[in-house]
Amino acid sequence: MHKVAFLSKQQQPLTMATHQFRLYIAGESVNSKLAYSNLKVFCEAYYTDDYHIEQVDVLLSPDIAWAQGVTATPMLLRLAPTPTLKIIGNLSDTEQLLNGLGTIDG
């Protein structure tokens, strides 16, 4: 749960966790905080310890965000397992999140 200020495009997640997420946020906004806490709660509930979240603050790393085509924030990328999924919003709509991440059978 460390913040990554600079991250190259090709950089791979450092951990071997099954569920790997990258969360693009915009500074300390309410939605940024909500998104992180919603994700954290969700991961704890469904993936216990087998997950990894890295946060990218687009205010600090706009170039990376440009390269990734980030338009709305917060934006969550599920990098693993594949396929890569993109979830936009502060993740407060749990039903959408569950459907999207396919956690019904996870």
């Binding site: 939605n31 687009v58 965000a65």
Partner: protein, 575 residues
């Protein structure tokens, strides 16, 4: 932050748009382009960006509705050199929501704006387009949050001194949710409305500036053309009203028509020739063009009916030989299929031709061919073309099928295009059927600013060209064709009869004069004879008296001594 107190404008580089906004969009402010699907929002916005990029104002295009890649491909047809500009002066950000994306809860533009700010600083961007912002923000599904983000966007633009263009759809469909246009038009500094309607299966796009804070603008609706080189606007330049009307007359090519018009057409005016099919409108066009070519003026002949070779051949048959001028390049004849494009495309075509050939005389034959519909374009189109020609001082002669007059002389404006109102001179040719003949009658319905004949003339067309002949009024009917010829012959015969009569009488009187003169001569001879007789008589008498004197003296001498008394008696005996 560079929010200046005075309003600066930035040129869009789009023809017509800078004119109607009196100098372009507000610099460092936000402008809204709103309109339904297919009305040209994206093209217009991108073109403004491209024009900026070419003039050293780099720009960013944020695409929410279409793939950025697709936009680039689509724009390639306009020849804007996008690949050259891309990633140097022009950047695209693909913000199109994907169907596989998952939307969960509230989101905001803060991150996007931070990214754009960094990019803009990096490349020195001055212009930025948010194309179809509603596509992204409507996913918030929360009008309050949507409004919040729009405010955020506008504030960001203003505080960064970027010239922003936001496009959005009109919420005409009555769907629930935020009406973006309605909301944003209060917020932004400039609002431009685009519409797209179909006139009888032909697209017509138009544009209107609705609002421009701190600036005047032309508030009328103007036509937006999406042509070969992108968007352009056909606006009525207000200056066109101030243009100095020419007093120069140019020949119609038919001398008699020139005199009917008081010297010919005004240079730079618009002339309408109307009439039923076959009333030799095209031939009059040919005469006009020929006369112009002979004066050495560049001419453009656009035909929607015939091919170039047909026009040249047909006109040659009536002694109008245009071929040399076509070869020398003085005359360009363009044949356009009327069915291929909509009215606005045709106007675009005409504009291109005018720019290419810079004619001083321009014929469109027939103008009515490019108006397909009953819709508004009927009204607009002639105005558009006249805007083109009047601005350049081109003399326009256009023909129109009008008035299917079966014997009558009806000018049915309902079926005609509405050019008659805007044309300066209107000449109508109708058929007159009389005595089993169909003849052409030409009359001038109106001619602004000049005296013109109210007379109907018969238009006579033969292998020597077109001439105008007088028509005769007889028993309440207008005589033309053979009847006119007959009448002419009758009049000629009557005239000749009168002449002959006069000649006869003159001769008779001359004869009488001669007779009298002869008599005078005889009398004068007689007089001279009598005079001679008189002279002779007098001469004889004087001789006699002389001799008488001599004899008396001789006798006196012989009777010497005789008294004078006896001599007197003797003398009286001899007498």
């Amino acid at each position: 932050m560079p929010t200046s107190s005075t309003l600066n404008k930035t040129l869009t580089g789009i023809r017509g748009l800078d004119e109607i906004t009196y100098g372009g969009l507000p610099q460092g402010r936000c402008s809204l382009l709103s309109g339904g699907p297919g009305c040209g929002k994206t093209v217009l916005a991108l073109q403004i960006l491209v024009n900026g990029a070419k003039q050293g104002e780099p720009g960013v295009f944020v695409a929410f509705e279409e793939d950025a890649a697709r936009i680039v491909i689509n724009a390639a047809t306009f020849g804007w050199d996008l690949p050259d500009l891309q990633n140097k002066e022009l950047f695209f950000l693909d913000g199109k929501p994907r169907p596989e994306d998952i939307w969960s809860g509230d989101f905001e533009l803060t991150g996007l704006l931070a990214i754009l700010k960094a990019k803009a600083d990096q490349i020195g961007a001055k212009r930025i387009v948010f194309d179809s912002i509603d596509v992204l923000l409507s996913l918030l599904d929360n009008p309050k949050a949507e409004r919040r983000e729009l405010f955020r966007l506008n504030d960001w633009l203003v505080s960064n001194g970027m010239t922003g263009i936001v496009t959005c759809k009109n919420n005409d469909s009555g769907l629930s949710g935020l009406d973006y246009k309605d909301f944003m038009q209060y917020m932004v500094d400039c609002v431009i409305d685009l519409t797209h309607e179909m006139d009888d299966r032909v697209a017509h796009r138009s544009l209107r500036v609705v609002k421009y804070r701190g600036s005047g603008f032309y508030s009328g609706e103007v036509t937006l053309l999406l042509g070969e080189h992108g968007a352009e606007i056909i606006a009525f330049p207000e200056s066109s009203h101030d243009q100095i009307a020419s007093n120069i007359r140019i020949s119609s090519g038919v001398p008699r028509l020139d005199s009917m018009l008081g010297g010919g057409y005004y240079k730079g005016s618009a002339v309408l020739l109307s009439g039923a099919p076959g009333t030799s409108k095209s031939s009059l066009c040919g005469m006009f063009i020929l006369a112009a070519c002979e004066r050495g003026e560049a001419c453009l002949y656009v035909s929607f009916d015939e091919s170039v070779s047909e026009i040249v051949r047909n006109l040659k048959s009536i002694n109008i030989n245009l071929a040399p001028y076509v070869e020398s390049g003085l005359l360009h004849i363009e044949s356009i299929r009327s069915s291929l494009a909509g009215t606005e495309e045709q106007v675009g075509n005409l504009r291109k031709l005018i720019e290419q050939y810079k004619p001083s005389c321009f014929v469109i034959d027939p103008l009515s061919a490019i108006v397909h519909s009953e819709g508004d374009s009927r009204r607009r189109m002639p105005e558009k073309i006249l805007t083109l020609t009047k601005a350049s001082g081109i003399t326009l002669l256009c023909t129109s099928l009008l008035g299917n007059n079966n014997g009558g002389d009806t000018l049915n404006e309902e079926t005609g295009i509405q050019i008659s109102a805007v044309a300066d001179t209107w000449i109508h040719i109708s058929y007159q059927i009389l005595g089993g003949e169909r003849n052409r009658a030409l009359s001038i319905i109106k001619s602004r600013g000049s005296e013109h004949s109210n007379q109907v003339r018969e238009l006579v067309i033969d292998k020597l060209g077109i001439t105008l002949a007088d028509v005769y009024q007889a028993d309440g009917e207008v005589l033309m064709g053979t009847a006119r010829w007959q009448k002419e012959q009758d009049e000629l015969a009557a005239e000749q009869l009168i002449l002959a009569n006069v000649e006869y009488k003159r001769r008779v009187i001359e004869l009488a004069q001669d007779e009298v003169n002869a008599q005078v001569l005889i009398l004068q001879v007689n007089l001279a004879v009598k005079q001679k007789e008189l002279d002779l008589l007098m001469a004889t008498e004087s001789t006699r008296l002389y001799h008488l004197g001599l004899n008396r003296e001789e006798l006196w001498n012989k009777r010497s001594g005789d008294d004078s008394h006896a001599l007197v008696l003797d003398e009286s005996n001899n007498a």
